[in-house]
Symmetry: C2
Subunit: 344 residues, 2 copies
DNA sequence: TTGTACGCGTTATCAT
DNA sequence: ATGATAACGCGTACAA
């Protein structure tokens, strides 16, 4: 039982292939009667056009792809929803493509561009560091959204929407300092990992410096290397536990992601300590859980929906011919929850 | 600047296209020297083969697709990780495809099957209810994984891995009853929605019946219709709030998802009530947050990794020629947390 | 070991 | 309004 093709349909209906093609693609130049006959046989025989052939022949599509690196988290989910809506609104179709951890997102993009004749690409998350040379190969407009851009890359070479991780991280730690905390621990991703963890750690260090607090390496705690989902609750929990069992003294923890913060909270509760009376906890990202956790967790809320909208706006500007590269840096909101309080 | 093709590479290298093709696809019959020359030029000119053309020409690939309906949640994420590993282990490649809420997953599968010459498909989640007729069109092996199968579908017509939502939901509610709870509220998805919410509600009703507790419609609370992510914390929170503000009496809440349970907890805390002293809360799914929440939440843990492994095992059995349809129903674990206690 | 030529399923151009 | 036919970029049987 071979797969049925456009030719079969044409033969069955006693028409030419081009007529069938016209029927499928809603071309104007076709008799209503023949069209409905064709559509009927298509249904009857369960004919499904082969997309590969279509893409091969078509010179362009109206597809926007969103490439997302690694595991989708709830933060990305809220952006995806916006992408989907906005793209649909513009009568484009939306293709979500996940790129595996070990793959090169740019290679994937290049391939997808050819395969699907994309109109535009959004790179969501990931720590985007690629050579300018390779970046030049990208012929379709693209926007980097969320997630730090490596300093290796000249920001001038592409469009982006992001928050300044160093600055916002600084703000959070500075806030903790202003509450009187002097012994602030940080839970972050492994130093080996090229990720926003680095940037957020940098902000932490700068904030301590501004507040004349020496950096104590013992208070910088890294998630173990080579683990899977370094931003997860699990590792926040484990690292915080270690921290509590060590003889390192601290009054506050800044976890570089909300998930880690949740894990840290649990570790503290298990020790019979209270939040924020015994320890203040701060997270980062602005995920829903910070509101629903008990106590609610102080966090830096990244304005995900606004960033997503801006991403699409810029992308379409690019698509519609603007040659202007455009970058926008959003500010995060410091959302004060019940998990932090002034010292004493 | 036109896209570069295999012909260009052939011309540049002064060889035939087939030689280039052989180089790309690691064919044995090729001189090492010509091969390395070709690979060098490919790099140099940044040639990227067009996948559409390849798929069109190829009669088969070694790709397994995982179709996931709607938004990825952390429950699916843990399964995806397993899928990815197992599929890689078998030297197949892994394609994750998200199908939009409004799309028909089967249509998408049919299309993808043709486009990518798939070897197998996993349908992850979603409430799978399709006519047998349509199911017959699927020529590649497929397995339904997680998520209830509609009773409309004869379970005999396809392979699946799932938990018995009615039964497990029953167990949870029965557990609450045995703790002495007689006024148990449930938070579930809208009745209009074809989802596992229905099955879990059914289990709830059966458990009450067994325990000689009449069903009080006031204690059945539905998430508002036409909302986006009905399983989310947000709606658990809102519905629980409504419930608390109504004059409906209850001592326990069974939320049909852990996320909803978390939201419900927050609503209770905001009213100044305690968990489990004032209200017992139970969730369903076994998501990480139930462990990290304070208090930890009683839940029915679905054995995600094991289910994922079994899914792949069955799929490959099918691929390797077994014509035996195979279904496996996993039992969930009742994980007792701090959020439930005996009445009085 | 290498090159030529055909066909995969579709759309677009050009006749009719 | 409709049909024949030439591409699209690639893999491969076959010939060399």
């Amino acid at each position: 039982m071979e797969a049925i093709t456009i030719k079969d349909i044409a033969r069955i209906c006693g028409v030419g292939v081009s007529t069938v093609s016209r029927a499928i693609n809603d071309h104007p130049d076709i008799n209503e009667k023949t069209k409905s006959l064709i559509m009927k046989t298509i249904k009857e025989y369960n004919y499904v056009p082969n997309n590969s052939a279509r893409n091969l022949k078509r010179s362009e599509s109206n597809t926007i792809a969103v490439l997302i690196k690694g595991i989708t988290n709830s933060f990305f989910n809220s952006m995806l929803k916006v992408f989907e809506n906005e793209i649909q609104k513009k009568k484009y179709s939306f293709l979500l493509h996940r790129v595996e951890e070990h793959e090169d997102e740019l290679d994937v993009a290049l391939q997808l561009e050819k395969e699907k004749r994309l109109k535009g690409i959004v790179f969501l998350g990931g720590y985007f560091s690629h050579s300018k040379d390779k970046l030049k190969q990208m012929k379709v407009p693209f926007v980097l959204s969320t997630g730090g851009i490596s300093e290796i890359i000249d920001k001038k070479s592409c469009s982006y929407v992001m928050v300044d991780d160093v600055k916002e991280s600084y703000r959070m730690v500075d806030y903790l300092c202003k509450l009187g905390h002097k012994k602030i621990a940080i839970i972050t991703t492994p130093p080996s990992e090229e990720s926003i963890g680095k940037l957020r750690l940098e902000g932490y260090k700068q904030a301590l410096k501004t507040n004349n607090i020496p950096v104590d390496e013992n208070r910088i705690r890294y998630v173990e290397d080579d683990t899977f989902d370094t931003f997860s609750m699990k590792y926040g929990y484990e690292v915080a536990k270690e921290l509590l069992e060590s003889d390192t003294d601290f009054t506050a923890i800044f976890a570089i992601s909300d998930s880690m913060a949740v894990g840290a909270c649990k570790a503290i509760f298990e020790k019979g300590k209270r939040i924020p009376e015994d320890y203040s906890i701060a997270g980062y990202d602005g995920m829903d859980i910070t509101f629903y956790y008990q106590p609610s967790i102080t966090t830096m809320r990244q304005p995900a929906p606004e960033m997503a909208e801006e991403t699409i706006r810029i992308l379409f500007e690019l698509i519609e011919g603007s040659s202007e590269r455009e970058g926008k840096i959003f500010s995060a909101d410091l959302v004060v929850g019940e998990s932090t309080q002034a010292i004493r």
